[in-house]
Symmetry: C2
Subunit: 135 residues, 2 copies
DNA sequence: CCTGGTATTGAAAACCATTCCCAATATCGG
DNA sequence: CCGATATTGGGAATGGTTTTCAATACCAGG
């Protein structure tokens, strides 16, 4: 085997899914994307939407957040997606701002260290109501 | 209406669910609790397990974490449950340590403030492998 | 003790996001 | 053009959770 990352074909459906996400300011679920595509006449199967979203996530092209309601939501973050960062998410409209906090990163590692935990990882999400959604 | 929090009856099932959780070091799913009860001969319906776990969560007696796999897990945190805190969770056995970080709390509020978000809330979970589960 | 009213239970069905299956279709190298 | 390979998508299956609702348990009065 020659190895190397298997590049995937550029398909109409894949492009449609990526575009739909890129057009959005915030986190969107697979169902959201599916509905949006369908609305604008772009015909893509639901399974295919799921597939491409997952592929995008695997490739690190989008960020993933699991909502408390149990939906998996995706957001196209551009180049920023590669750097480790977190989000400030509007719980009304889903809009999100990229945020980072060195202090938090250090804190997570140190507190895990103190308790003898290894392979440390963490999830940090800040929720609020964006200015557009207030009032 | 006279208002006031509706106290609920103390039932065998409710006590069983609470005890099962209290006996555990870590976060457990409804299915886990159901299986555990069933194993020890305690007969409680699955819906009832869900109901009581939810009630405990509503009353602030247990903490809730949604796993990336989409399961809702609960942990009895004693008095600590009332104070705002976070967890260092072993991703292998589910064991959890209570942790807190003033710096993180302040950071969350300030970053939301800077972006004009209101009603700020946040989720912070640190994952790792506990010393017992290493090697 | 009965007895009617209220709260709880739990089995089964409904829900719903996500995954799986697989035959039909599209695409590629030669 | 052809056979090999990859992708698609409709529908079925999954699995956690919620809902439904008839049976049961519990309560306060009478
Ligand atoms: Mn991002
Ligand atoms: Mn806790
Ligand atoms: Zn908003
Ligand atoms: Zn462990």
């Amino acid at each position: 085997m020659t190895g190397g990352p298997t590049r995937r074909r550029e398909t109409r459906q894949g492009e449609a899914v990526r575009d739909a996400l890129a057009q959005s300011e915030g986190f969107r679920s697979a169902q959201d994307v599916y509905a949006a595509l369908r609305t604008e006449g772009e015909n893509v199967g639901l399974s295919t939407v799921y597939r491409h979203l997952q592929a995008l996530a695997d490739d690190g092209d989008v960020d993933v957040i699991h909502t408390p309601e149990g939906e998996t939501t995706y957001r196209y973050c551009g180049d920023a997606a590669r750097r480790h960062h977190h989000h400030l998410v509007c719980r009304v409209c889903g809009r999100a701002e990229e945020i980072e906090g060195r202090a938090v990163e250090r804190w997570a590692v140190s507190v895990a260290d103190q308790h003898g935990y290894s392979d440390v990882d963490h999830t940090v999400e800040v929720f609020g109501t964006c200015s557009a959604c207030q009032g």
